[in-house]
Symmetry: C2
Subunit: 273 residues, 2 copies
């Protein structure tokens, strides 16, 4: 992609993913965590990293509606069509809070809804119109994408995760690094929310990650939401491409700022050995 | 474009343009005319026309911010970058009112922001990612686009009018007709708001339109906002392509319903002779 080269000649792109769990109130549908969003906007402004793309998750906005209408199972009957519209509209609502907060902090953010520039095939990105995005980065905008309901050439529609978008863009635009902000400190040997013996893994290679996954599979520890390993799985192609991935806790003040600045942060780094 | 053929085999596409003046309160910035928007959503639901694309203008949302930051003059200095973000965010605010109202009336509307799928070159559409749009029409969604601040390969950014989008899509997707809803009854021999002798022109060919423009130019009657003739100019390529254009007053109840149903409405029809 010839346009991408111009950007990377200046400085490698940073992709920042903010998990839905970090920026919404999980227990209450359609409730943004305004305090966290405002603080993160301030940290992004202060870090002043460019070029930067922000991708956020759906949290308590996208998931309830998408689940109700079974959007991720594809188009089965016409009652789902309104569900797709409602899922997307819920995500644009959360996106507005994020973009408004960034603009309020004098960051030239622009919402880029995946449903209007991406199509998938059996849930995997099939087409991604990057020309507006590339021109935005060139001028100095901060494009803001998100997990979204998108059109799918096989299934009619599907849910496209923010993690898949991040990994795809990181490779396509030859990014330098991916920072993932969650509501936990990083990747643990077990679920830190339920298991007190869980240990944070500070450093991991894709090979070690695959071994860990095998162990989890053997133990038949499944997570209906896809879980942490599922999310990280999406990032393996980017890691194997040579892109550094760092997982930090975005709900703790200054973590995203420090990560963006390249400073030391408690978290998990995933890198090619 | 091979995907477009499938749609037109079923039924020719209708493009409905709602002028910003019809759906916002001109005197008050950032004020949607909720009563008109709600009524139009009900009329669109009742008419039940498919496939349909809706494009709306900016009215009191887009224009004040775009003008303040001189977005349409292109990228001249960095202070405009925040202005671009604010212009686009203002337009998404108006778009939300429109899409929310359509969804509320059980119409599966999806916002398609032009800034995320269109780029221009010197203000003219250069790239338009239509794949998501085509798939939306296939499934039965109502895509909703709007006049927007977009990225431009020559000028950095520009304002892309809803009229240019309508004309481009009508030709590209081989539409059957374009319905333009404004706050006046159609095209007049003079400005009906200031000139009581103004006569409504019920029927017009592109040749007659060009003669009318010449007359206006000779009379040195200029309109800083582009005016009615400027807007209609955008539609000439579509008319010459064989697409029927109908201008009606969207602020009068049932006009948009009747136009969508193919019934007689007071207005102006522009057709190839």
């Amino acid at each position: 992609m010839k346009e991408g080269v111009q950007i990377t000649q200046l400085q490698k792109l940073t992709l920042l993913k903010l998990g839905g769990s970090a920026i919404t109130v999980k227990e209450r549908p359609f409730t943004p965590d305004k305090r966290v969003i405002t603080r993160l906007a301030e940290e992004i402004k202060r870090a002043d990293v460019s070029p930067l793309i922000l991708v956020h998750g759906g949290g308590s906005f996208g998931h309830p509606v998408a689940k109700q209408y079974q959007i991720d199972e594809g188009y089965k009957d016409s009652s789902q069509i309104m569900g797709f519209s409602k899922t997307h509209q819920a995500m644009t609502m959360l996106n507005r809070f994020v973009v408004d907060s960034l603009i309020h902090h004098d960051i030239p953010a622009i919402a880029v809804p995946p449903s209007s520039c991406i199509t998938t095939k059996s849930g995997r990105i099939e087409s991604f119109e990057e020309r507006p995005l590339i021109k935005m980065l060139e001028i100095g905008f901060l494009p803001v994408l998100y997990g979204d309901a998108v059109l799918d050439w096989d299934a009619g529609f599907r849910i496209l995760s923010g993690d898949q978008i991040v990994s795809y863009l990181a490779i396509s635009l030859d990014a330098g690094r991916i920072i993932i902000g969650l509501d936990v400190d990083g990747l643990y040997t077990a679920d830190p929310k339920t298991n007190s013996s869980a240990r944070l893994i500070p450093y991991l290679t894709p090979t070690e990650l695959k071994k860990l996954q095998q162990k989890v599979e053997e133990a038949k520890v499944t997570d209906v939401t896809g879980g942490m390993l599922g999310k990280i799985n999406e990032l393996i192609p980017a890691v194997e491409h040579g892109i550094h991935v760092m997982i930090v806790n975005a709900t703790k003040p200054n973590n995203i700022y420090r990560a963006l600045k390249g400073q030391t942060v408690v978290g998990t780094i995933i890198e090619r050995a």
